[in-house]
């Protein structure tokens, strides 16, 4: 083990259902550095981290930690914590029924008795020093997701760990919260903590990291100092090919669409989207909803799909009035909806890839007209090939796929129903660049085939690449509609911020 390193992993291997998730991977973390772990979905980042934190048991290889003689074996998250490894996951891994303070201290206090007074005082101090807007005595479930994420970080910080793992901590944070997190990371770095930072945002990597380790298909590509690895090279290392697609994916179809109106909503509102909105989409058009987190973009599309209880408004499809009060109605009229939260609203984890793919079609056919096994197999194979879904077989449970591949399975589910209007709510969140571009291309291809698509994303440049018209939302209201020349980053920003005069 090298003198200045706090963690070394040598020759780590791990397989699931005969898929080799990690093959002979090395990883070194030095004292006081922020080390980005990069790779596409399914490259093995999450698996490597879960091996390190004892969630998974490795099949082969050795882990060395500073202060420990010889290789250490970490069999559970509890042991990882004791060894000084703390983790903040992308999904909140705290208990919503406990208080903020308790979530920061449970599972790591010594002694049998819970000292509430001390715990609350300590938590309050920590929350204040990190500027987290939560109260120690508050029940965690009543905080926003971003605050919950920061509480998880506060917990890790308070543990005075040697190794801090941040697994996509920024995907649910807004810009000022990200800045706050970065200040915190740099502060910890100065104190000599080694930080492993997993993210899909390249900007963030170049903003705070010192070193990058790239994984691809479960194998180590290499470890680089940040100044020696320009962005373009990083991307090509992650994808394993030179990539010029980034800027020029528009062209397979412009996504402007024809004059024919497919869907028209007049003063539509739901229990979630309280202020009524008007919305129109044309045949072959790609439009987008944009706005800050919580601006009501998802609520609008959920109202269109009937996912929340519709409280008012008229809807016309193909010029005829229709009544959509339930997702099933929307599906019957050829609307598909890929939800924002794929784990909760999208996949059914224990069912196989095949079963997940045919689900929407099966609902449309009715449960008394089952799709034959052979037919389902055929559909599944077709879409696995079309969307390049990485799975061991059609029988693999969806939950064992990586995030991006799960997303592709849900996409396949809707494509199979051949919808005339497809709503994609954050289809690229938490997904690597390669898959992102594939999805963007697919959206434009669908538009070229005459389908209408509504595309929602937190990343503005992505929206600019795909959408021909943007509805800008602020505080639950549509505050602007941009198209043509107006589609520039600056114009969108100023509309979101409310600078129009």
């Amino acid at each position: 083990m090298q003198k200045d390193s706090v963690l070394e992993m040598r020759g780590i291997s791990k397989s699931f259902y005969s898929v080799k998730a990690l093959q002979n991977v090395d990883f070194t973390l030095r004292e006081g550095e922020i080390h980005a772990l990069m790779g596409e979905n399914g490259a093995g980042k999450s698996t490597l981290i879960k091996v390190l934190t004892g969630v998974y048991q490795k099949d082969g290889g050795e882990v060395f930690l500073k202060g420990h003689e010889g290789p250490v074996s970490i069999k559970s998250p509890e042991e990882a914590q004791k060894a000084g490894i703390s983790t903040v996951y992308q999904e909140i891994t705290l208990c919503p029924n406990l208080t903020v303070a308790e979530n920061m201290y449970i599972g790591r206090t010594s002694g049998v008795i819970t000292k509430w007074r001390e715990m609350n005082a300590g938590a309050a101090k920590m929350l204040e020093s990190l500027g987290i807007p939560a109260k120690a005595e508050q029940q965690l479930g009543t905080c926003s997701i971003a605050v919950q994420q920061m509480v998880a970080i506060a917990r890790a910080v308070d543990m005075e760990c040697r190794v801090l793992i941040l697994d996509e901590p920024t995907s649910s944070l807004d810009e000022s919260e990200v800045a706050k997190l970065f200040r915190l990371m740099l502060d910890l770095k100065a104190r000599g903590v080694g930080i492993i930072f997993v993210t899909h945002f390249l900007d963030q990597v170049y903003e705070v990291c010192d070193r990058i380790t790239v994984l691809r298909d479960g194998k180590l590509v290499g470890e680089y100092a940040i100044e020696n690895l320009p962005r373009v090279e990083l991307v090509s290392k992650m994808l394993g090919k030179e990539l010029n697609d980034l800027s020029e994916i528009k062209g397979s179809g412009d996504g402007v669409g024809s004059d024919e109106v497919i869907y028209e909503a007049d003063r539509l509102s739901s229990v979630a989207a309280k202020s009524p909105f008007d919305f129109t989409i044309h045949k072959g058009e790609v439009n987008g909803f944009t706005g800050l987190l919580g601006s009501g973009r998802s609520e609008c599309v959920r109202a269109i799909f009937g996912a929340d209880k519709v409280t008012g408004g008229k809807v016309m499809m193909d010029g005829k009035p229709v009544h959509i009060s339930h997702p099933r109605d929307a599906m019957k009229h050829g609307i598909g909806y890929l939800p924002e939260d794929r784990k909760r609203d999208g996949i059914i984890g224990d069912l196989s890839v095949r079963e997940n793919i045919i689900l929407a079609l099966q609902v449309l056919e009715g449960f008394f007209g089952p799709i034959s096994r052979a037919k389902a197999e055929k559909f599944a194979d077709e879409y696995i090939k079309l969307l390049e879904i990485k799975t061991a077989s059609t029988e693999t449970p969806v939950k064992s796929l990586s995030g991006g591949n799960q997303q592709k399975v849900i996409l396949a589910r809707w494509l199979l129903t051949n919808p005339q209007y497809l709503i994609l709510d954050e289809p690229t969140r938490g997904i690597d660049i390669g898959t992102k571009i594939e999805i963007q291309k697919l959206v434009l291809k669908l538009a070229g085939e005459g389908k209408s698509v509504t595309f929602i994303s937190s990343e503005i440049d992505e929206m600019l690449r795909t959408c021909s018209r943007l509805v800008v939302m602020r505080d639950g209201k549509a505050v602007g509609e941009l198209k043509g020349d107006e589609l520039t980053q600056n114009k969108i920003m100023s509309t979101i911020a409310g600078g129009e005069k």
């Binding site: 914590q81 208990c95 919503p96 406990l98 449970i106 599972g107 005595e137």
Partner: protein, 344 residues
């Protein structure tokens, strides 16, 4: 509503557990007060409340165990039949095997712990659904009861009968009878055991690491695992504790009835679940309170008493009323929780 002051005097929303506990206690007192005002009669005597306690001491203890398992996100439907098995075993030990009160107590606890260990192992370490495991436990206990002894019989052991008839008088509480003589109120030994149990478990759940782990595991077991809690050990401990409490509760039941019979404590597990739910324990896990459970048992039996005193002394009337009450409680709970969610 639904807010409490923290130490700095700022308002903090109440936790779900405390909110539901408050509802339960308020509803119980409102109900009892209404019974005193509109029905009067027995409800005006303090002994009526103590009789409710005497009748339900065992149920309180069983319900405490049930609540702990439910807070952890599980369920235990074996406790009723387990109580019958314990009664029968203790009775046989006392009368046919020259046992003493002590051996009967030890036997009761041993049976309870044995069930807790086996069921806990199956649930926690082999990941079998608690409902299925305890269903099997229920049938096993039912069968074993008949094997131990197939017919009902009353215990004759004198030391035991003396303990059974021991009454703890409370000199400053009581009522004046028709002859104008003051009759002090009393409770049985079991009530003392039940109240001590409630207090100890309240402390366990509120202030110990194990107690807080129950809540964490019930709230989100995956998160609890990530937070460094040993989920399996916690689940095991919950079932073990429930088994131990079934042992204690079983003996208290035995002490109250003084006999062994295969039909003893029939449906006690369902009453325990009902009491826990009325007491604010949620079937989804992570929310609940032992004090709430205590008031849950009292509410349940007060309802039954009211129905009886109203002259509707039919089993089905009682059942229908209890069913309606549980529904009302659940509706009130979910409305309050929903309103709280939508506001935050």
């Amino acid at each position: 509503m639904g807010k409490v002051l923290n130490r700095k005097g700022r308002l903090v929303p109440m936790s779900d557990t405390n909110l539901l506990l408050t509802i339960t206690i308020v509803v119980f007192f409102a109900m009892y007060l209404a019974a005193m005002l509109f029905i009067g009669r027995g409800f005006l005597k303090i002994q009526t409340l103590f009789n409710i306690l005497n009748e339900n001491a065992a149920l309180i203890i069983l319900s405490c165990g049930m609540s702990i398992v439910m807070i952890t996100g599980g369920i235990d439907i074996s406790v009723g039949k387990l109580t019958a098995l314990i009664c029968m075993s203790a009775a046989v030990n006392l009368d046919y095997h020259n046992g003493s009160v002590l051996t009967a107590i030890l036997l009761s606890l041993a049976i309870g712990i044995a069930f807790g260990v086996v069921q806990g192992y199956l649930v926690a370490y082999l990941n079998i659904q608690p409902f299925i495991v305890t269903l099997a436990g229920m049938f096993f206990a039912k069968g074993m009861t008949t094997i131990v002894n197939s017919t009902q019989f009353n215990v004759q052991n004198e030391a035991f009968l003396a303990l059974k008839n021991t009454r703890v008088y409370i000199p400053f509480l009581g009522s004046v009878n028709k002859l104008g003589k003051f009759v002090p109120a009393y409770v049985e030994i079991g009530v003392i055991v039940a109240i001590v149990t409630v207090i100890l478990l309240f402390i366990l759940l509120r202030w110990t690491r194990l107690g807080r782990s129950f809540y964490a595991v019930g709230g989100n077991s995956q998160s609890a695992n990530m937070l460094g809690i040993n989920v399996r050990r916690t689940r095991f401990a919950a079932h073990l504790l429930c088994g131990l409490l079934a042992g204690i509760g079983g003996f208290v039941y035995f002490l109250h009835v003084g006999s062994g019979a295969p039909s003893h404590a029939t449906g006690a597990e369902m009453n325990a679940i009902a009491s826990s739910i009325i007491g604010g324990t949620m079937l989804t896990g992570g929310v609940g309170n032992i004090v709430g459970t205590f008031f849950g048992v009292l509410s349940l039996s007060t309802i039954k008493n009211i129905v009886t005193l109203l002259g509707l002394d039919d089993a089905w009337w009682t059942n229908i009323t209890v069913a309606v009450m549980i529904c009302i409680f659940l509706v009130v709970q979910s409305i309050v929780l929903l309103r709280k969610r939508s506001r935050s």
